[in-house]
């Protein structure tokens, strides 16, 4: 069955309010994706690394953070999301 964009014939009532509501809350996905995606770039920004580095430097002598620091920053989000999703999803 291909994706339908028109209601089956004989469907009473309007679908657009529910569709608009559905598409609006889908915007929460943008929030989710943005929050996930933004940190990847930030971890590579020279100024961020300069500000947040605790003294660790990479092979070229530039300020950097250790991999345990970066994994803590990144995945504290993931672990919390996953824990909550397993608890709340039916």
């Amino acid at each position: 069955m291909p994706i339908r964009l028109t209601p089956p014939p004989g469907t009473p009532g309007a679908a657009w309010p529910a569709i608009c509501v559905g598409l609006f809350v889908a915007f929460g996905g943008v929030l989710f994706g943005y929050d996930t995606g933004t940190i990847g770039g930030i971890l590579a920004m020279p100024y961020w690394l300069k500000t947040f580095s605790t003294g660790y430097t990479d092979a070229d002598g530039n300020p950097a953070i250790t991999s345990s620091q970066s994994s803590m920053i990144v995945s504290i989000l993931v672990s919390v999301i996953e824990a909550i999703e397993t608890m709340t999803l039916p």
Binding site: A26, G29, Y34, T36, V80, I81
Partner: protein, 251 residues
């Protein structure tokens, strides 16, 4: 509503942070808010959307996630060369815009009919459904759809209390294992690595324009979601899954 307040607290902490502990705390609260919202959205969508377009509406959420990833890559790319705190504060603060839009939108959104039935308020459920479908509360179609929701709810109640332990027993256990295995294998394809660490990884691999590469990977992600959403209906779930696995397999 509450989740958005928690999320904003997280964003504030990340914006003002200049050291790792504060930044991590910010990530924690933002993650908490995002996690709750992301679990609620598909549920809300499937409880409000009419049956015939339900799959597409929920699919739009998946698409929105990939669009969010792409927007993040674009904003990061735009601010990466700034030699002040704006380089990371701007991409983080942009999240306030998303949060505010959702916060004020939520004020206008109706509670789902199913939730009212669950709370034992059928007349409010009828009103909510009637608003969503733009019909009168006593229209036959509303009565019928409401009847379906009620019957479903009563059936669930009649099954008695199910425990989490039941998920692991017998046939249900097998299904749970299949689902978990698929999720685990999906994680093992490493796509999350690309989105979380991709930019640093490309940079360290000696690619000079690592931010551009990240924008390209996110754009590919958005573009391939469209055929994915279409084919999952046109071909069916299993064939598409088998087909999709060829690509990671090849690489």
């Amino acid at each position: 509503m509450v989740t958005m307040v928690v999320f904003c607290l997280g964003v504030i902490l990340q914006t003002i942070a200049t050291d790792i502990p504060v930044f991590t705390a910010g990530r924690f609260f933002a993650g908490y808010g995002v996690g709750m919202v992301s679990a609620l959205i598909p549920l809300y969508q499937s409880e409000t959307a009419p049956k015939w377009i339900r799959g597409t509406v929920v699919g739009a959420y998946q698409l929105a996630i990939t669009i969010g990833l792409l927007l993040a890559a674009i904003v990061d790319n735009a601010t990466k060369d700034r030699d002040d705190t704006g380089s990371y504060r701007i991409p983080i603060a942009v999240q306030f815009a998303w949060a505010l839009i959702i916060f004020f939108g939520m004020l206008l959104l109706p509670e789902t009919p199913r939730m009212y039935i669950k709370r034992g308020k059928p007349e409010r459920a009828a009103k909510s459904l009637a608003t969503l479908r733009r019909l009168d509360t006593d229209h036959p179609a509303i009565v019928e759809e409401l009847g379906e929701i009620m019957a479903n709810h009563e059936y669930e109640m009649s099954l008695g209390k199910a425990t989490y332990l039941d998920c692991f027993r017998g046939n249900l256990g097998k299904r749970l294992a299949t689902g978990c295995l698929l999720q685990a294998l999906q994680q093992l394809t490493g796509v999350n690595f690309i989105f979380y660490y991709g930019t640093s990884f490309f940079k360290r691999s000696g690619i000079s324009n690592s931010f551009t590469v990240s924008m390209i990977t996110s754009a590919v992600n958005v573009a391939s979601t469209f055929p994915g959403l279409y084919l999952v209906e046109a071909w069916g779930r299993r064939p598409l899954l088998l087909f999709g696995q060829y690509f990671p397999g090849m690489s």
